[in-house]
């Protein structure tokens, strides 16, 4: 499936079916997609090696280019023949080119490993020590073997930490508090200690876990812009926390090894700019880095750095922003690269795992299949509305007043109802009753089909999952007379305020709190706050998020119904 979609895209331009390699020449852009036998693997690689070694030999013997070419053509014909198109022998040509292609990639793999290890890890002074510092820019993917168990637990443990950061920010904590909290969570799930001259083995294991888990999540979260932004944001904060924790010598040494150095102002230059630099005494002795202003955006936006002619003069105590901007830039690029590579990732063991991991973020799919609590009937809906998130309450209210909903509203609401356990039969009853102004034949003709379609009974017969918040918030912006979407995203500010008040929130601090979140585009966090406030859960517990961030309207519903049940029990 994946392979074929790739083929369609990448090789789609080839005119003749079954012809994959149109030319003798190949830039080896795409790794081979077909199966290779173990024998092929070995012989192909060795054959190509023969040719490359012959070239090496020829050059060593100082042959002219002419001579080298002649010699290599001969060797090639023997080990790795590759002929031009001549209108005939199509099959042979393809086989030759396939061999050329595959052997290139095997050697690429073989040679990248070794030389990479040698070059990149070459600087490590102590044998057997792979991770010299706690800090890591995650430049190279892990090379060692990983077990499937490790794969999953490492990834989920790191996810715990990133989610804890998200939660702490949601609680409006100060940077100091966030750091304290995250250090605690990290110790539990993803401990990572500084060098202290002892415990070498443990440190290595910790760092290995850090390294591997980062790469797994990178892969799991590279797949769309939304996921990438999420991952990027919290990885950057995690890195910042660690960087701040780390000892200065180790920080500096790490940066030196990563070759992250910036030009510094000489002391005479510094003296001559003294007034403009405007530094307090305590920082005067420290170096000042000179970078292009584009590399110090965070400082530029806070007006926390002196600018002259497009250069930013960054004092040493603000170094973290430069490091972070570098970290972010690299990770951003890496994620994009990974997203392009993702469709090629065709490992039937890994793919399901990855899907599973990023669902931890996207949430369950709430297909309504595993609703245990017995079914919900059409008549129950009115009673349950109190458990619905605002988006669904809004649709319900409008359905009741205008006895109608437009297409996207119907879809959003119908799928949600499916998720809370309405069967298709009940759903049809529900909609039939609700559209009371519409006669039966029109209902059957125009609406019943779509309702059944949502349940996978018509058309493509795909059982559609209820929409998650991300999709409700970003897709199909509602028009003037439409009611779908997310109130936090699509209501005007006044309207939002009125809605909050309608829902019994009278405390201005609480209202402002939600409005600020909305202004900063944290719609789901605002929704989570709304949930907490309306259920009196706010700040019961200082440190742990009371409720997980709402990712899905059905998650909201489940949380709310569960809460009521647990209260009843008490």
């Amino acid at each position: 499936m994946i392979v074929s979609s790739q083929k369609k895209q990448k090789y789609g331009q080839f005119k003749k079916l079954g012809v994959d390699f149109e030319y003798l020449l190949n830039f080896y852009k795409f790794p081979p997609l077909e199966d290779i036998t173990i024998e092929e693997f070995e012989t192909f690689a060795l054959d190509r090696l023969q040719v490359l070694k012959a070239i090496e030999g020829a050059i060593l013997r100082n042959k002219t280019e002419e001579q080298i070419r002649g010699h290599i053509n001969q060797i090639s014909d023997e080990f790795l023949p590759l002929r031009s198109n001549d209108g005939k022998q199509r099959y042979d040509l393809q086989a030759e080119r396939r061999k050329d292609h595959i052997s290139h990639f095997i050697l690429r793999l073989a040679y990248c490993r070794n030389s990479q290890k040698k070059q990149k890890y070459g600087q490590f002074k102590k044998l057997g020590v792979d991770f010299e510092y706690l800090l890591n820019f995650y430049k190279f993917p892990p090379l060692e073997d990983i077990t499937i168990e490790e794969f999953e637990t490492f990834a989920l443990d790191r996810l715990q930490v990133l989610k804890a950061i998200e939660g702490a920010i949601l609680r409006n904590k100060t940077e100091e508090q966030i750091r304290g909290h995250i250090n605690q969570i990290s110790d539990e799930f993803l401990p990572l200690r500084s060098n202290d001259g002892k415990q070498r083995y443990d440190l290595q294991a910790e760092r290995r876990k850090d390294h591997i888990s980062h790469f797994i999540l990178r892969l799991a979260y590279c797949r769309n812009e939304e996921l990438r932004q999420w991952f990027l944001r919290y990885e950057c904060i995690l890195f910042k926390i660690r960087f701040t924790n780390e000892k200065k010598e180790d920080r500096d040494a790490f940066l030196r090894d990563e070759n992250i150095i910036w030009p510094q102002l000489s002391s005479t230059e510094k003296e001559s700019m003294k007034k403009e630099l405007n530094l307090s005494q305590e920082y005067w002795k420290d170096p000042i880095f000179v970078v292009e202003f584009e590399n110090a955006l965070e400082l530029v936006s806070r007006r926390a750095v002196y600018l002259k002619d497009g250069k930013a003069y960054v004092p040493a105590h603000e170094q973290i922003t430069l490091v972070l901007s570098e970290f972010r830039k690299r990770l951003e690029e890496a994620l994009l690269l990974a997203s392009k590579a993702f469709p090629k990732l065709d490992d039937e063991r890994i793919l399901p795992l990855l899907n599973n991991i990023n669902k931890q973020y996207l949430g369950k799919n709430f297909m309504g299949k595993n609703v245990v609590e017995g079914k919900v009937t059409a008549d129950d809906v009115d009673e349950l509305v109190g458990h619905f998130p605002l988006c669904m309450q809004n649709l319900h209210k409008n359905l009741r007043t205008s006895k109608h909903l437009k297409h996207y509203g119907r879809r959003q609401y119908n799928l949600f109802l499916k998720g809370i356990g309405l069967t298709i039969e009940e759903a049809l009853i529900f909609w039939r009753k609700s559209f009371s102004m519409i006669d039966d034949s029109k209902f059957q003709r125009e609406y019943a089909y779509n309702i059944r379609h949502n349940y996978g009974i018509e058309g493509r017969r795909k059982d559609y999952a209820p929409l998650g918040c991300m999709s409700i918030i970003t897709n199909n912006q509602p028009g003037p007379s439409e009611n779908h979407g997310c109130p936090f995203r699509h209501f005007s500010e006044e309207n939002m305020k009125a809605t909050l008040i309608d829902n019994g929130i009278r405390n201005t601090d609480q209202i402002n709190n939600i409005i600020t979140l909305v202004r900063d585009k944290h719609y789901q966090i605002a929704c989570t706050k709304f949930y907490e406030i309306t259920r009196n859960l706010e700040d019961l517990n200082e440190d742990k998020p009371v409720v997980e961030t709402i990712q899905h309207p059905n998650q909201y519903y489940e949380a709310s119904t569960k809460l009521t049940k647990s209260k009843k029990k008490k």
């Binding site: 769309n224 584009e294 965070e298 936006s301 806070r302 007006r303 002259k308 039937e348 899907n355």
Partner: protein
Amino acid sequence: MSLQSENDAQTSLMEEIEEMEEIVETEELEDIEDTEKNTKEELEADFWRNPSRTILQAGHESQDFIPDTSELLRFFYTKLFPYKIYAEWLNYSKEIDKKFINREFSFQLSNEAVIRHLSFNNPDELKAEIVKQCPLKIDIGAVYSAKPKDKRSLRPSAYKPVEKELVFDIDLTDYDDIRTCYKGGDICLKCWQFMTVAIKILDVALREDFGFKHLLWIYSGRRGVHCWICDERARKLNNDERKAIVSYLEVIKGGAQQHKKVYLYKNMHSSLKRSLVIIEDYFEQIVLEDQDVLKDEQNWTKVLNCIPDEGLRKELNKKWLQLPLKPSIDKWHDLKSEISHYKNKKNQWRLDSSISEIMFQYLYPRLDDKVTTQINHLLKSPFCVHPKTERVCVPISPDNCENFDPLKVPTLTTLYRQLNETNNTASDKSGTKRIHHEYEKCSLKSYMKYFENFVEGIMKEIREKNREASEMSMEF
């Protein structure tokens, strides 16, 4: 878990990604259209549907024949619009290439009709279309990775904004809460001084701090100014970088409900210190004399609200109520001396700095950040004609901006007269002087010369760069 369902998940994910990309794209555009539909624009466009057009007729003893506005526009676009340099500017080279061809234009044809995503293969095509359509307003957008006119047929990922001048938009409407002279639509030379200070402050900050050299300041035709920064580095900035620049330059924060809009830090940034020096030069004249902002209780309360101490506010208020006719300058001296003699050691620093904060609040430029931070945002083109005032959007020289008088900017009618007159006299004594372009015969001339020089400055730098580059490659 079957492989099939995984694959399904995969494809639907890919679909969703594609769908999302599409949405994001259109959403951005909608946003822009929203901001364009603000009331001032609507009002102006309404004007065109009103046949009486009182403004145009007033002030002219209509002895000689003045054609109606659409005729005048056609006259302007045929005879006066500087197509050649204009195209050279947008193309950043004499040979037309992608920078021109993939540039988005938008024409406003009437109140309702705005055509977006226009693009032209060469300057002649642009000219032909402008003359044909006679747009009320021309907007310039970004350079895209493909031709904007092909947008519909392109995948969203193949159509991305690549570069655009860094632009700023400052409008007197944003000063309405502080200007006391005639409010509403119109402006006078007094309140125009807010723009003068805005230009002074921003121009030096953009040049000295960010190192930009090619800043084109343009009168927006009515109540504001635009700035087009044309350096290559500025054109290549992404949205985040644009945002950071705006936030660096922005001092005035908070909406109408917020009285005090400026908070300074103890250790003032050198860029703000420099701005403060400029503000101090103008504050007395513009704010205290011309605007007379302490003239009555309603106005001085606004100023007093910026002082973070209730006792002081009351005291000053009492004092001024006793002598309400005292000139603003004297009241300002009261304010300063009260603050410096006030015995509140805990709060002293905040009080002291509130003096500068008030000065910033009244004179520091107020930016419309959306225009600046989004690379694909449209902005009205230089040398458009403002539909209501009929004034041409001409360049303003920042070095000389204190002498710029928006009310003296040529209108369509004056230009029409001037051209007719010179044509009549020129036919008498022909051949004395060679005229290259019609605009040399009218009061647009000096503005056009300025624009020519500006574009020549950019071209010169580009030529030098190219020469250096080719010399470099020769060495190898």
